[in-house]
């Protein structure tokens, strides 16, 4: 049945004008209202406190005699008798437009810079709807970020969702900003619009990004949605959805390539846990709700490319791993949904290596279809695979060296140590404003491999050895 019947809908709209004064209960961010007209699940709620300022919320539970809604701006200072509630008869929506680029919004999508409210071209439900898998176009075009650890080893693909798993104090913001600055499609100019959503991060993090966009003169191509650390935590649940609603509009209706940066997903998950606890739901691991996976998937799956449409959404969610623990539910469930992950290693960071991208746990799953002949360079797939294999052996050798001492290592193992050193300090390591070409990255990879004898290189072909291993490329 494609269209809704007119009757009940009109009814709903009429009823929506009705207001209710007085609450039955307030608990955490939740309000409880008795004896209302039939209210739709997930309907948008406006609630006005005694001072007359409005707050937005969403219906979480609707039954004959009771409606429960969560208030995004928090319930602080609400009183039971003096609060007025209005049900709007529609889900939380956002007016979207191209004019939103270059602007700053709060976590619910209302402008907080000094400009006028941008004129909406369309109203969209922020919850989005699942993309039909048959409508998707499989992503294959690589994005050059100018960062060897990514371009060479974990190539980013247009339409991919590739999170950064970081830890407190590690330079994830620097890396995300650098990607946003340098990202380009081969042969083309930088043609990315950036949608940036901050959830529970500090003011200086937001400022850092804003400054970084200003410095490169790209501010006009960036829309920021800020729900900062001192904003009500419940608002964070909406922020990524609002940001992605704009991204979808820009990508699929305006044909833009959109890079979405979401930071910090750990804060998002904490807000979700908070509400779940208050609602008395049965928790699964570490107190997070059982639906955390599905909820995160609703966000992360809003990326990709659509058949027949020119635009794309590439997601770079950032999350700090509690205690640097990759098996914590937040990174774990994220890794189960995203198409790979860039993992930071505190050890590398401590040694001053930037970006401190861990060699082995990092992975780009879409890389395989976007690299090689005609895309990056013909030697890229085998080179990357060989670097991974060799670097993985370096870890074994280092373990051995820590037991028997580096002196005692066999001559071959010592070569691996030298390879590892070069790989980390010369290949991975670069400056936050260095924009390396793909060629340079791959050449550096071969330079690293030249620390090893050719017989050790099983993953590259003899022809590749002839062409690249033997070649003297200027360092």
């Amino acid at each position: 049945m494609p269209e809704l019947k007119l009757g009940p809908d009109t009814e709903r709209r009429l009823a929506a004008a009705r207001e209710y004064r007085g609450l039955a209960r307030i608990e955490g961010p939740l309000i409880f209202v008795r004896k209302t007209h039939p209210v739709g699940y997930r309907e948008l709620v406006e609630c006005v406190d005694s001072s007359g300022s409005p707050r937005l919320g969403m219906v979480m539970d609707s039954s004959d005699d009771l409606v429960v809604a969560q208030i995004f701006e928090g319930t602080q200072n609400l009183t039971m008798p003096d609060t007025t509630v209005r049900f709007t008869g529609k889900p939380l929506s956002l007016g979207v437009s191209t004019a939103m680029l270059g602007r700053v919004f709060d976590g619910l999508g209302r402008p907080i810079d000094s400009g006028p409210p941008p004129k909406a071209e369309r109203e969209v439900d922020v919850n989005g709807r699942p993309i039909n898998p048959t409508a998707r176009e499989y992503p294959r075009d690589f994005i050059q970020t100018g960062i060897s650890a990514i371009d060479g080893m974990n190539t980013l693909i247009r339409g991919q969702k590739l999170p950064i798993f970081s830890g407190n104090g590690l330079p994830h913001n620097e890396l995300a900003a650098q990607i946003a600055r340098q990202a380009k499609i081969r042969g083309g100019k930088t043609d990315f619009a950036v949608v940036f959503a901050a959830m529970g991060v500090k003011h200086d993090v937001a400022r850092f990004f804003i400054r970084s966009f200003e410095e490169t003169g790209s501010s006009d191509n960036v829309a920021l949605f800020l729900s900062l650390a001192d904003d009500p935590s419940i608002e964070r649940i909406v922020t990524p959805r609002v940001a992605l609603s704009l991204a979808e509009f820009l990508a699929y209706e305006k044909g833009m390539h959109v890079l979405v940066i979401l930071t910090d997903m750990a804060n998002y998950c904490e807000s979700l846990r908070e509400i779940s606890t208050i609602r008395g739901e049965i928790p699964s691991r570490k107190g997070y709700p059982g639906y955390l996976y599905s909820d995160l998937a609703e966000i992360y799956e809003r990326s990709g490319m659509i058949k027949g449409l020119p635009g794309s959404i590439t997601q770079l969610p950032i999350l700090t791993m509690p205690n640097d623990d990759i098996s914590h539910p937040i990174p774990d469930l994220t890794g189960y949904i995203t198409e790979g992950q860039i993992v930071f290693e505190r050890d590398l960071g401590g040694r001053g290596i930037y970006p401190p991208v861990a060699g082995l746990p990092s992975l780009s799953r879409l890389m395989k279809d976007g690299i090689g002949k005609g895309m990056t360079r013909e030697d890229h797939p085998h080179l990357a695979s060989q670097l991974f294999a060799a670097y993985s052996y370096v870890k074994d050798v280092r373990n051995l060296a820590s037991v028997i001492g580096e002196e005692e290592l066999s001559p071959l193992d010592k070569k691996y140590i030298a390879f590892g050193e070069f790989f980390e300090t010369r290949f991975i390591n670069q400056s936050p404003d260095e924009d390396r070409s793909m060629e340079r990255t791959l050449d550096l990879g071969w330079e690293a491999l030249r620390r090893l004898p050719a017989e050790e290189l099983h993953r590259v072909t003899d022809e590749e050895l002839d062409t690249w291993y033997g070649a003297e490329v200027g360092g």
Binding site: G40, D64, R129, T134, Y293
Partner: protein, 589 residues
């Protein structure tokens, strides 16, 4: 919609809703809820209330809205047109949905699972007047160039064939046969309906004895799966569950593939959809899509339809099994299905057991895998359904409930190892944690193919891998130099086996599939190096010399360079190896 109103919505707080004023709803009845006619299923009846699991997003649904009962359980349409299709968890055709609601999936859309506008060439094979038992073949439709769809009497229907349509083109809705069941005359079309939660009956179960050949060496040679068998692939994120499932879906020797994307990524389904039509089955030369049915209920699609999706998949698989086909079902991932159960159970406010999962989780897992088997079908043929279930343990920790319970009910286990995956050793199937209880069952098949040597060689390599593990522990403590050459050679040979045999590149044209015979030839060569090398070391040849044998480089690359049927190339390699070792030994004679 001419369905009766069975009640009205009392409460909505997610995918499970409560109806009030319910008097004549049936358990597991298919219902349409609210003004948007969302599809749902009655899952509990109590007093005048019914609990309904809604398969679509319930946003906007309000108390007081009506619910309509259909009078029948949630069932599938089974008939010509299934192959090559992609459905959501409750068998709605996704390409049809795309036409109706565009890029984003709309709600309340009902579409026939089988295309009504298509006509199929029906060739009758049962004779008018004959007495037919349930499951008997009425006629045939060449559904794809590769698969002949056998139109059978539905289970539970038997009798005298009063009339049967002559050869010709028919739509799936048209009557092709009339049966006198003794009670009534029943008109039959090419479509049957079958409820997803009820296993389709077969005549009897047979013990499995034929391997499902996957072309993946670590599987076929070390941990084989039998046709009609069950296997779990557990592994943390990114360890290779989906890649393994895709590889098997592409290259295994089943007749029909049912691939269930259960709560996983949209792009992975797109990958299958774009790649399979262009891939050619090495056995039949036909496009792989011609034998494939896809069920896609991705992670962002409604969670209750995710719960249903695995049943939808196995029901379709059983339907083809009943026609006498060997069907392989991939379920990626059963953990998402279990989590859907958990979420729905939570919404129903049931008492949770371990980690919030309902107490009936093990029962459901057991029932699911029990539907696999090698059967004598009602139609008198043999058919099988194998189930290959991915498991996604939180934190990659196999001690969690879904992995543990699954382990109780499957007979084969391919454990993925994070360290192997990190080292890009693919497939990252651990040779230490994995096992197959089908080994005995299929060994006579292998013996027929490869001779008595197979079982012995397989055992020998497994033994070597065990020795290697112990030796590596020593090396970790004192370094390799502390070991004598004879022991270091064990490590050397195992290293070769891992590189040359276990690792298999899913993206290489030649390497992605190895025939059983090629697998055996490869294994024999590596063991020849072991046996000859161990002998040479006894005679005084050093490990360094053995490692330098030039032909080793060819052995490492044989997976890429030697095609499946090229026995001669293997014989040449073996001879070259022999000569090289002979030469080394002659210096010490």
């Amino acid at each position: 919609m001419n369905e009766r109103i069975i009640g009205r919505v009392r409460r909505v707080n997610g995918p499970v809703i409560i109806l009030r004023g319910v008097r004549d709803a049936r358990m597991l009845e298919l219902v349409h809820v609210g003004n948007g006619l969302l599809v749902g299923e009655v899952i509990k009846l109590e007093g005048e209330e019914a609990l309904v699991q809604v398969y679509e997003d319930t946003t906007g649904l309000a108390p007081g809205e009506p619910a309509y009962g259909s009078g029948m359980p949630l069932s599938l349409e089974l008939g010509p047109g299934l192959l090559g299709s992609i459905y959501d968890g409750i068998q709605r055709p996704l390409d049809e949905l795309l036409k109706r609601t565009g890029t984003f999936i709309g709600r309340g859309v009902s579409a026939n699972a089988l295309d009504r506008s298509r006509r199929w060439g029906f060739v009758p094979s049962a004779a008018k007047g004959s007495l037919l038992a349930a499951g008997a073949v009425l006629g045939r439709v060449q559904e794809t160039s590769r698969i002949e769809h056998r139109i059978c009497l539905p289970p539970g229907t038997s009798g005298k064939l009063i009339s049967i349509a002559p050869e010709g083109e028919y739509g799936v809705d048209e009557v092709v046969a009339v049966i006198d069941t003794g009670q009534e005359r029943r008109e039959l079309t090419m479509v049957q309906r079958w409820p997803i939660r009820v296993p389709r009956p077969a005549r009897s179960r047979r013990p499995p004895s034929i391997p499902l050949v996957t072309g993946q060496r670590v599987i076929d040679t070390l941990f084989p799966l039998a046709k009609g068998g069950t296997v779990a692939i557990p592994g943390g994120f990114g360890t290779g569950k989906t890649m393994t499932q895709h590889a098997i879906a592409k290259w295994c020797d089943a007749d029909i593939i049912v691939y269930i994307g259960c709560g996983e990524r949209g792009n992975e389904m797109t990958d299958v959809l774009t790649e399979f039509p262009h891939l050619v089955d090495p056995r039949t030369g036909k496009s792989l899509m011609e034998r494939t049915v896809l069920i896609a209920n991705t992670s962002n699609m409604p969670v209750s339809a995710r719960e249903a999706s695995v049943y939808t998949g196995v029901t379709i698989a059983e339907y083809f099994r009943d026609q006498g086909y060997h069907v392989a079902v991939m379920a990626d991932s059963t953990s998402r299905w279990a989590e859907a159960l958990r979420e729905l159970s939570g919404r129903m406010e049931e008492m949770p057991a371990e980690e919030g999962f309902p107490a009936y989780l093990p029962t459901r897992i057991a029932e699911f895998y029990e539907r696999a088997g090698y059967m004598d079908t009602l139609s008198g043929s043999e058919g099988s359904m194998s189930i290959i279930g991915a498991v996604s343990p939180p934190g990659g920790d196999f001690s969690e409930p879904v992995t543990q319970h699954t382990k109780r009910f499957v007979r084969c286990f391919w454990g993925l190892d994070r360290n192997l995956a990190n080292a890009r050793h693919y497939p990252a199937i651990s040779w230490l944690d994995s096992y197959s209880e089908y080994l005995e069952d299929v060994s006579s098949w292998w013996t027929d193919l490869a001779g008595e040597g197979w079982a012995r060689d397989r055992k020998e390599i497994v033994e070597l891998l065990r020795r290697e593990t112990r030796l590596l522990q020593v090396v970790k403590l004192v370094g390799p130099d502390a070991l004598p050459d004879s022991q270091r050679f064990v490590i050397e040979v195992c290293g070769l086996f891992k590189n040359a045999f276990l690792q298999q590149n899913a993206f290489d044209e030649v390497d992605r599939f190895s025939s059983p015979l090629k697998q055996y030839k490869m294994l024999s060569l590596i063991l020849a190096y072991w046996r000859r090398g161990a002998g040479a070391i006894k005679r005084g040849v050093s490990l360094g010399e053995l490692k330098k044998i030039a032909v080793l480089q060819d052995i490492v690359k044989m997976k890429f360079t030697i095609k499946d049927d090229d026995e001669e190339a293997f014989a040449k390699l073996a001879a070259a190896l022999d000569r090289a070792v002979d030469r080394l030994e002659s210096a010490y004679a």
